[in-house]
């Protein structure tokens, strides 16, 4: 059973300014296997947040279905919500309550009474324990992000949705957050994340989907995507001092490139290869 199945999801809403219908999602389909990290990538306004909002029932799809561990979010929303944790893109700004109160309430929303052990564990894990009596407005941006992650995990969800969790976060915190995400994956949590840091997506995700203007452009492994949509650069320094630079498909091996350009291997002094990156493949795909 898949952790998440998105089946031909379409979402149309009326643009309040222009007054015309806008297709935010145009029949998006993909699935996520349990226990993996899945990257949902796309430029701003591609439809990522709308899709996450549809999974969490903040938005209702115009058509199609979304299933979480086999249950439809449309027909069994209360059941699927128990299995999902979500970290929204925008930082929370609750003015009234402290960190520990917020986690206590969040536990209660999922029907968990006296969840202190889990809340303390999450606060310690996310370096929030010493700030547990502080109100949200007293926290730094990074602490607020960590609090959002803690909130999403109080009920030990099987599927975690991270909508740009590292937006505006410094390098150190980003690294610690990703480390924690890996730990969650190792605990068996399935993770869907959206991020603009493609280098991170390349390292973290076993599978990625590219979405642009509401359409799914690609769904597969980052490795295959790089192979299919990016090129590698080969820089040859010849014994006579000449330098040749070739940009070729990722799929071609060194010997293929040398043969293609009639380069005598015996005349080569040095070879440098710059492999294609997910970012290159993404740029090419989105520009198509």
């Amino acid at each position: 059973m898949n952790a998440l199945e998105v089946v031909d999801v379409k979402k149309t809403y009326k643009d309040k300014v222009a007054g015309r219908p806008v297709e935010a999602l145009k029949g998006v389909s993909f699935s996520i296997k349990p226990g993996g990290i899945f990257g949902l990538l796309g430029p701003n306004g591609a439809g990522k947040t709308t899709l996450i909002a549809s999974i969490t029932t903040l938005e209702e799809p115009s058509s199609g279905d979304i299933r979480v561990f086999g249950d439809s979010v449309l027909s069994h929303p209360l059941k699927t919500k128990m299995k999902v944790g979500v970290v929204h893109q925008e930082v929370i700004n609750t003015g009234f309550f402290s960190v520990s109160e917020i986690l206590d309430f969040q536990s209660g929303y999922y029907g968990i009474y006296k969840n202190k052990e889990r809340c303390d564990y999450l606060m310690q894990k996310l370096s929030l324990y010493e700030h547990r009596h502080k109100k949200v407005k007293q926290l730094s941006g990074g602490m607020k992000r960590r609090l959002m992650i803690a909130k999403a995990l109080v009920h030990s969800p099987k599927l975690l949705l991270l909508d740009e969790p590292t937006a505006g976060v410094d390098v150190g915190l980003r690294e610690s957050l990703w480390k924690f995400v890996y730990e969650l994956k190792n605990e068996g949590v399935s993770i869907l994340l959206t991020t603009h840091y493609l280098e991170e997506a390349e390292q973290m995700c076993e599978q990625v989907a590219i979405i642009n203007k509401g359409e799914l452009l690609y769904n597969g492994t980052p490795k295959n995507m790089i192979a299919d949509y990016s090129q590698k650069k080969m820089i040859l320094t010849m014994k006579n001092g000449n330098v040749h630079q070739f940009t070729e498909s990722q799929k071609l091996g060194i010997s293929d490139v040398l043969a293609k350009h009639h380069v005598d291997i015996n005349q080569i002094q040095d070879i440098k290869i710059e492999e294609g990156r997910l970012e290159d493949a993404f740029s090419k795909m989105v520009a198509l």
Partner: protein
């Protein structure tokens, strides 16, 4: 039930965190109304029913405290949640809409009742000092009924207005242009017996008139309208506003301001 009581607990904790703004401030307003209208001006007002004006005013001010605070409690809860993003958290959690509506309703009753009861106690103290007699509640069970229905009605209305409002301005416009006139014209300060028949007819179209008179009957045993009508209208009011609040949660936007 854990989910429901968590929501109720949150509602109560929220308004207690800002108790000066949510409880003390409205009580001071009511105190001033009692002092100025009830004690100072009240002695020169003669009601046809023969009830002292101060006695007449106390239930009206209690209703005003109840409904304003019930409305403000739920509407400010929704609005601050829209700002902070809490509403999204509640929406993505496995919480049935009916729990949200009833929890906010209960929160509204508690805050509204707190203000109304303190207003009532202060009023009774004034009553004893001014008239040298206690203001005994004639029908306590009925009073409880009107506390519950009045609080629920306006807490539900607060949810409806706040969920559908897109700006603070819209929320404030509802309070200023609809709630406030209905309150004042519903008979908080006046008895409709002193009005022209045409205005008496208009007053009877105002649901608040029935709530205020229900309160007045419960406390004094006298009112401008039969108690049966008050019970029926307030009960209908609760059902209608509950439907409105549920509709707003189902169809309204949960996105952040």
């Amino acid at each position: 039930m854990i989910i429901f009581f968590t929501l109720v607990r949150r509602e109560i904790k929220r308004f207690l965190k800002v108790v000066i703004q949510t409880v003390i401030s409205p009580v001071i307003s009511s105190f001033l109304y009692l002092l100025v209208f009830g004690v100072s001006l009240g002695s020169s007002v003669q009601l046809k029913s023969g009830i002292p004006y101060l006695s007449f005013l106390i239930p009206g001010l209690m209703v005003m405290g109840l409904i304003n605070n019930a409305f403000q409690n739920s509407s400010s809860s929704v609005v601050t949640s829209k700002f902070s993003g809490d509403l999204e958290d509640i929406r993505v959690a496995p919480i049935p809409h009916s729990y949200i509506v009833w929890a906010m309703g209960l929160g509204g009753i508690i805050r509204g009742s707190l203000v109304a009861m303190v207003t009532g106690l202060v009023g009774m103290a004034f009553h004893y000092m001014q008239l040298s007699e206690f203001l005994w509640i004639k029908h306590p069970a009925l009073l409880l009924y009107f506390f519950i229905t009045g609080g629920l009605m306006f807490a539900f209305l607060g949810i409806f207005v706040a969920v559908l409002a897109n700006t603070f301005d819209q929320l404030s416009a509802f309070s200023s242009f609809i709630l406030l006139p209905l309150t004042y014209l519903g008979g908080v300060f006046i008895s409709i017996e002193s009005l022209h028949p045409a205005w008496q007819f208009v007053s009877k179209l105002n649901p608040l008139f029935y709530l205020i008179n229900g309160f007045r009957y419960s406390m004094l045993g006298e009112s401008d309208i039969g108690i049966g009508s008050s019970i029926l209208v307030t009960l209908t009011g609760v059902a209608v506003t509950f439907a409105m609040a549920s509709f707003s949660l189902k169809k309204g936007s949960f996105s952040r301001w």
